[in-house]
Symmetry: C2
Subunit: 341 residues, 2 copies
Amino acid sequence: MTGPSITIKDVAALAGVSAATASRVLSGNPATSPQSREKVAAAVAELDFHPNAQARALRSTRTNVIGLLLSDVRNPFFADLAHAAEQAALAEGLVTLLGNANESIPQQDRYLDTFISQRVDGVIAAPQGEGSSSLHALLERDIPTVFVDRTVDGIDVPSVTTDSDSGIRQAAEHLARQGHERVGYIAGPQTTSTGRDRLKSFCRAAREFGLSTDPALTYFGDFQSASGSAGAHHLLGLAQPPTALLAADSPMAVGALVTLNRKGLRIGRDMALIAFDDIEWFSLLDPPLTVISHDVEAMGRTAVRLLLEVIDGQKPESVVLPSELIVRASSGTPDPSLGQP
Amino acid sequence: MTGPSITIKDVAALAGVSAATASRVLSGNPATSPQSREKVAAAVAELDFHPNAQARALRSTRTNVIGLLLSDVRNPFFADLAHAAEQAALAEGLVTLLGNANESIPQQDRYLDTFISQRVDGVIAAPQGEGSSSLHALLERDIPTVFVDRTVDGIDVPSVTTDSDSGIRQAAEHLARQGHERVGYIAGPQTTSTGRDRLKSFCRAAREFGLSTDPALTYFGDFQSASGSAGAHHLLGLAQPPTALLAADSPMAVGALVTLNRKGLRIGRDMALIAFDDIEWFSLLDPPLTVISHDVEAMGRTAVRLLLEVIDGQKPESVVLPSELIVRASSGTPDPSLGQP
DNA sequence: CGATTCCATGGAATCGATTCCACAAACAGT
DNA sequence: ACTGTTTGTGGAATCGATTCCATGGAATCG
């Protein structure tokens, strides 16, 4: 299909130098004369030469490609993260190969294998399961790796995570002050570190601020919106239903919202709702959603910085970013006039 | 950093065959004995061998990588499209290199250059400007290319687009029936085919259904949310303001929503609002948003199919997918009791 | 002025997998 | 039994850029 492509030899021939010299000019090697540099530059422009990245990578073992493995691009949190990481990488001259694990371990392994075969310079991953074989293959090969958002127990690589604790404490305190006592928690899957950490934080904060610690108030979802709907449905059906809901990520909050709307409950009056992750349009809802917010842009940027340090042979410290509660109208006082059924 | 990696020679040595035979086994060449196949398979498993994709691509000119160039991953429409295309490509054994042009032509060119250097097997692009130099470089090299969502005048490559006309006509008819006469249109940039087509469709439909054709009712945005806010602000400030707004994409609709909320206008009563592109949570807003919907999943899947046909040397026909109006509460009748100020 | 350093340069080896080519062994046909 | 085909195999060339090494000429120093 594609015609015979232009190689460095064509450039060298047109410039009247050897391929070695042309290569030196292209890679900015100082051992080149101004004349050669000029002639090669002219030839490159004339032929519109694009060096073959494969051949270059084969010899020099650097590809200038990093792999970014996420669980779901359609989750706005990860879309923002992808955007932030990708822009930060681009500024460093790296292009990003995006893998979408789609919340599936086989698909995650497939992408990791591809990353290994593509000899990416490094990997930024929001890992899924605990003992994924390809994850170990990555580390056995000493491929520079950084975890983002999530971590995996027993695997010691630098990571950028959110300190869910501060935001969740603030949320619990806020709800307690508003007079709530029974708060339903829609948890993430306990196979992810974020799922576990946020649940632990919630339990601790509930105790601290005198909220009910009834285990029936926790529903285990899978970070996707359908489980948020199911969770809200389940919690509202309890003998002693909660007066407030806290969802461990934004898709589950959206799911819960659908259920609440469908049941005709007024959010912020009949039922308070708080979501982990701030999404631009959450403030556009009626009422606007109270959220636990963290800085996705910083997370992406930091992940790239850490990865560059690992590639550079250093062993950087993991970074934990803060989270904080942003109070909006969805977490108002429970309406005493209506009360619970 | 990375240790000496395992090559096909190591596999061959362990299996007691030559590199040539090992290669044949790995690529499924039938000219191999069952014994060799078995021994090579065992050696591959034993060493956890991952072939070097660079070396393979260098020799065989196929990389099994396609480039996907989008304007903005944070736009849910493109996130969905990325997801759909990526899943369809994966099913065909292709991995996707995602480039995010970020609505910027230099960044688009940077990614296209990278795609060329990476010798991707093909490119799926939602192109930005008209005469981008890298876009021409792509085509001069006969790199299989398919346009998605948008097209570029004068560049004849297969494409998958949406027939905006049907959806926009339905929207105009619907608004006219609801008694609207002055409909504000927040247009996309006229440097994109979608921006131009949708505007043209709107003008035609306005004439057909007796809506005002006052050019002051059209505001030119850039497909990003800030311009939606600005557009709504501008249109509401006209001497004769519109009673309904139609936004040419979802981020601009969100922007318009912010402005309307800020001004305290009740959507669906004081002002109707319709968005092009359906987004999951648009139905969760209060009131739920009336939208012009099209099938993103089909668009991504079709783009991959067309690209495979182009790679295969065929010249497939472009595909135009339908759009349709989904009526929800945001486009109700204008409230006569309040009227316009 | 001869010896040494410096510099730009070209030739050749190299990266790892694929594939052409040649060759040997096994087997079929007359 | 002797060609003629098939089949599996290894050696070697190849893809395109990088980089080590050697070389010749200019510049520098004692």
